[in-house]
Amino acid sequence: MDIGDSVEEAAFRAEARAWLEQHAPHRDPTKRHKQSSTDTEQDVHAQACRDWQRVLYDGGWAGLTWPKRFGGRGGTPWQAAIFGEEQSKFDVATGAFAVAHGMVAPTLMMHGTDEQRGYLDAMLRGDEVWCQLFSEPEAGSDLANIGTRAVLDGGEWIINGQKVWTSGAQHSEFAILLARTDPDAPKHAGITYFILDMNSPGIEVRPLRQITGVAHFNEVFLTDVRIPVANVVGEVNAGWKIAHTTLSNERALIGGGNTAWSIQELIEMARHYGRTNDPVVRQGIAKAHSRAAVLQYMGYRLRTSISRGEMPGVVASTMKLFYARHWAQTTGLALTIQGANGALWGDSALDDGLWQQTFLGQYAVRLGGGTDEIQGNVIGERALGLPREPAADRDLPWRETRGSTR
């Protein structure tokens, strides 16, 4: 075990840093980004992500851990972590590609056809943004209950249904989509995993405004949308297993992701409000610092297991749950430090209300990618070997369970 930079890692860090210095503007560590809340600001943000991704690509830094045969750099998870740490000191963003790089790419690499892997290059170049069309009004935690139908018609599948809470659908060129292809099979056995071109006729994206003030998720209505058979990932009716790959990568992505703030910012804020001597604030910051350390070390373990070619499993669930709590507790502390000013909002508040937004954003982290409780169930079953909660509907034909579903 060795958790400092090795000689090679230090050399890599220096190389990354030197390249970033040349290609990216510095970030003021005491100033946080205003989150894009208007539609125009979000368009600008998405474009900035595309532009930066292109710079990374041209510089040979895109897809750091991707194998060279998929256009990546063929680096180690450690190098990706180091690059991420260095990149976070600069004023650049890649958020619009989270789904594409963090969830779609690992799935296509593992289960896609050669033709489907052709999508990898465009997402690496920053040309194509992807979104995740999984959740439906009746299929949240019970994702296997999806009711969007796909029916084969000659060489094409015809899709009808509704998705909800789809982040970034309004900026996406492509989507991964789960749809029901065999309603007579038990619910997990009749699902197929598709690639969907978001410019296809019959797709309507309706924005939903979030509690954070941002309209970044959507309802997506699919009416007679046509998908070529070549866009089925894996086998027909075997989509649930493929979705698993995507979901466990989503957990690793969320749990292993960097927080939108640094402990240093909390310290600066406590100074700003003259509260560095308040024992509640001091202990709060110290606790946040210790949680951040735990997450960092767990991240090292996660990367070690990924670099051995293992699927992110229980570690990812543990990290995601821990990370969600860290997010909730730390952003709550930030508002405590602000005192009465913590109850202000938007441009009336410190840093244009960014901390308030981050505080309210905790629900994206606590719910997305499987809720806290679902992670708890996973940990109980996989880490502790507890028996699965009995479910009466598991082996019934999906169609027969519909009557009881709202």
Partner: protein, 374 residues
């Protein structure tokens, strides 16, 4: 001993519930949030018509002479509907102190108008950089026929609608005074600000002269006593609002998780869900008993300092936990502002931090216990 509300109080509570349920539907609240200025004047005049605005104002001043427990019941019902009206500011921060300390002229000028629904009042208790409302940084300097007030008062509730704001200030003679300021007069800048719960608040930049008659209680009025009085009513009022917010949020969560099926059964039948809802309920009961205890003691003129702080501790700490639990159990629905539960969350976190969050109350309780013993 009878630790429950009386039949008469139950009538007040039922009446208030009827008005808020009838006039602050989800659609109406949404409409005011979207189209209005954050003040539902129709609801306000309904409250006046039902005589709820004058309920706790003395009979001599045109009211019905009830007390703080009854005001708490009204505020609880308002909290249940997260209704956009300045009841707390007008009654707890303005009318009760004027009724208690005001000169005959001050009472006659403002209280009948409050009862009729024509007058909105508020108080400016916060100051930037001063946690302690008893030590205001705003100054009051004696002039030939009045007081020159100068200072900055952040986040004053409903200041943009108020006819008078009670402004606390340190006088040039070293005493503390409370002044009835007209926020529309020259020399006052009213800067509307956005608050987490989207209710109207404004910063006041004050550099103006008020007349000698506008000092609360006249020249002899004891500003320190007055601030104590206002703070105690303000805190108990917040506790009552929070109780309503949390009580309704739990009911809505119970209904939602019982109606929504996942894995072919109601969410509420997963014990991880049911237990969190039960935790929310368990946290709400202490809010109720501590609020009633504090309101009752204050109403009967008994020493209540600790009781008030204990109540606000529970309203802050328990309240924020409750609204988080309810928000979480709604899944993605909680994050979508087209669905109503998020308002309870936003009100809950706003009330949590108003006039000191849980840790601030604990610090004050600790100081009191250390000083006075118990």
């Amino acid at each position: 001993m009878n630790f429950d509300i009386s039949d008469e109080q139950k009538v007040v509570s039922d009446l208030a519930r009827q008005i808020f349920e009838g006039h602050a539907s989800v659609e109406r609240v949404k409409y005011i949030e979207r189209e209005g200025d954050g003040f539902d004047r129709d609801l306000w005049s309904e409250l006046a018509k039902a005589n709820l605005l004058g309920l706790c104002i003395p009979e001599d001043d045109g009211g019905s002479g009830f007390g703080l427990v009854e005001l708490g019941l009204i505020l609880e019902e308002q909290g249940r509907r997260v209704a956009p009206v300045p009841v707390w500011a007008t009654l707890a921060l303005g009318a009760l102190p004027i009724a208690e300390f005001g000169t005959a002229a001050q009472r006659a000028q403002w209280l009948p108008g409050v009862c009729a629904g024509d007058v909105v009042l508020s108080a400016a208790l916060n100051e930037r950089g001063a946690d302690d409302a008893l030590r205001p940084l705003t100054t009051a300097t004696r002039t030939a026929n009045g007081w020159h007030l100068k200072g900055f008062k952040p986040t004053v509730p409903a200041a943009q609608f108020a006819q008078r704001v009670l402004v606390t200030a340190r006088q040039d003679d070293g005493r503390i005074g409370v002044f009835l300021l007209d926020p529309t007069q020259a020399g006052v800048v009213v800067e509307p600000v956005r608050a987490t719960n989207h209710q109207p608040h404004a910063h006041l930049v004050i550099d103006t002269v008020v007349s000698a008659e506008d000092r609360l209680g006249g020249p002899e009025g004891d500003g320190e006593e007055q601030i104590h009085f206002i703070l105690e009513r303000a805190l108990v009022g917040l506790c009552a609002l929070q109780l309503g917010v949390c009580g309704a949020a739990i009911e809505q969560t119970a209904a939602y998780t019982s109606g929504r099926l996942q894995f072919s059964k109601p969410l509420s039948t997963f014990q991880a869900v049911g237990h969190q809802a039960a935790d929310a309920f368990i946290l709400t009961e202490p809010m109720r008993v501590t609020m009633l205890q504090a309101a009752w003691r204050l109403m009967h003129g008994l020493p209540s300092r600790q009781e008030v702080l204990i109540a606000k501790y529970w309203a802050s700490e328990g309240g924020q936990k409750v609204v988080h639990l309810c928000q979480h159990l709604h899944g993605g629905m909680g994050s979508d502002i087209d669905y109503p539960i998020h308002r309870y969350f936003l009100w809950g976190v706003q009330i949590e931090s108003t006039l000191g969050a849980g840790s601030a109350q604990l610090a004050r309780i600790g100081e009191l216990i250390a000083r006075e013993g118990r």
